[in-house]
């Protein structure tokens, strides 16, 4: 007993203690630590290489691991837990007016080309707006129109119907109902505008395309 106490005054700490020391140093140091540096920081006679080997084994399969970075050593998150180091924040934002109007036109007039959307809105439709709606998967590309230029059409999607709680685009209320619901002034529609009703649209062909797939 006395012998051992005396010896420890002069000899290096036991390996378990050396391992603790290396563990603390690797943990607290702001950059990876070389063996040479460990030698200089541990008490005389220590064997950091061996302590490191022990430490490395101890952390095998743990949430963090002892890894070699160049010729230095550091603690790193286990690669399979990398996803825990990400934190996703979800921000809910209202669609812009341009996007909601474009979406409404596509919903009521589908299949609908970009030129038609622009005609109805009276302003150009920005690429970003269409891309945003495509990305949200509320609209998708429909068939090409069999007209000069063969323009691509847009239609609304299943996720769109889901989001708005509709069984089909035909369930969208017509202008008459909008007016009855107070969403429209009870004013005569300007001449020439047909009462839009997805059911009786001129584009019967388009309608039939609608829920094809």
């Amino acid at each position: 007993m006395n012998d051992e106490a005396e010896r420890s005054l002069f000899a290096a700490p036991v390996m378990a203690e050396q391992e603790r020391m290396v563990e603390a140093i690797l943990f607290a140091t702001a950059e990876p630590v070389t063996v040479a540096e460990l030698v200089s920081r541990l008490p005389l006679g220590c064997d950091p290489a061996e302590a490191l080997a022990h430490l490395r084994r101890r952390y095998e399969g743990r949430g963090v691991r002892v890894v070699k970075v160049g010729d230095a050593w550091a603690f790193r998150t286990a690669p399979d837990l990398g996803h825990l180091m990400q934190k996703e924040t979800v921000e809910t934002r209202k669609l812009s007016r341009a996007a909601i109007e474009t979406l409404a036109i596509i919903a009521y007039h589908q299949p609908c080309t970009r030129a038609e959307i622009e005609e109805i809105r009276g302003v150009a439709v920005s690429r970003g707006t269409v891309d945003q709606l495509l990305e949200m998967e509320w609209i998708r590309f429909g068939r090409r129109r069999m007209t000069p230029g063969r323009p691509i059409t847009f239609v609304v999607t299943e996720p769109f119907l889901d989001h708005f709680g509709l069984e089909s685009a035909r369930d969208l209320p017509g202008l008459k109902e909008l007016r009855a619901a107070g969403l429209l002034d009870n004013r005569a529609l300007p001449g020439g505008l047909t009462e839009p009703d997805p059911d009786e649209g001129e584009d019967v062909a388009g309608q039939s395309e609608l829920f094809e797939d």
Binding site: K87, E88, T92, K94, I100, L103, P173, L193
Partner: protein, 263 residues
């Protein structure tokens, strides 16, 4: 009295004199009368709860007297405390007055002892706190933190009502005629500038600005106002460019312009 002690050093022990001097020299070092009282109480070498407040009051008063002799400026709170302790001392020495309804001298003394004990306790607590292992000195946090990556995802949303309102808005917007200014009676600054540029070459002498108003714009008040404003703004522009000079005799007097002689 302290004064006497000071004047006749032979009568005091060297030790006491040194102690007294230490107090005087350190007067600035005390953090107020309570701190000083706490230091004085240590000379009694007893538990703070069993301290003699009477003795303490005398020590304090002696200290204040000495400070006066040495012409040391004592802050007001030291003197307030001295007055209060003198009062307390007299109350402690006199037999209690049965007609006095206020707190007894013993209560006051006990409270002072409590204050001293509490201050002493807080000092010890502070020392124990600072003696603890401290982060960054005795123990350490992770030196190489791996930052949490923050991903921001935006979810766009709209209600069916938004959708229908948007559609209703589009289908009814033709009902509204966009607001447009009636330009028939407006004379713009550009027009005035154009016009004046052609005429200014002839204005070698001071000429009233109103004479520049075009025909058909002088009579109708609305047109006259618009043309005058336009010509005035155009004159300022020309003056800025160094082509003309402007003057006005007094407020509301006619504004006159002329071509700059060197222009």
């Amino acid at each position: 009295m302290a004064e006497t002690d000071w004047d006749k050093p032979d009568e005091t022990s060297v030790e006491a004199r040194l102690a007294a001097e230490a107090l005087i020299v350190d007067v600035e070092g005390y953090e107020g009368p309570l701190d000083l009282l706490l230091t004085l109480s240590r000379t009694q070498k007893v538990d703070l709860r069993r301290i003699s407040v009477l003795q303490l009051a005398e020590q304090y008063l002696a200290f204040v007297d000495q400070a006066k002799v040495l012409r040391i400026e004592l802050a007001a709170d030291y003197l307030v405390m001295a007055a209060w302790l003198a009062y307390l001392k007299s109350r402690l020495l006199l037999p209690p007055d049965p007609t006095d309804a206020g707190p007894s001298a013993e209560d006051l003394a006990a409270h002072l002892a409590f204050q001293l004990e509490r201050l002493q306790a807080m000092r010890e607590a502070a020392a124990r706190l600072m003696a603890r292992d401290q982060k960054g000195r005795d123990f350490f946090a992770r030196g190489l933190p791996e930052d949490v990556m923050r991903l921001r995802r935006t979810v766009w949303t709209a209600s069916l009502l938004d959708l229908m309102q948007a559609y209703a808005r589009i289908r009814t917007k033709d009902d509204f005629r966009p607001y447009a200014m009636d330009r028939v009676h407006v004379y713009t600054m550009e027009q005035a500038l154009e016009r004046m540029r052609g005429l200014i070459g002839y204005a070698g002498d001071w000429t009233d600005l109103v004479t520049y108003l075009p025909e058909g714009w002088e009579a109708d008040p609305a047109r006259r106002r618009s043309a005058t404003a336009a010509h005035f703004a155009a004159s300022l522009e020309l003056a800025k460019r160094g082509q003309i000079e402007m003057r006005q005799g007094e407020a509301f007097a006619p504004i006159q312009i002329r071509r700059r002689p060197d222009a």
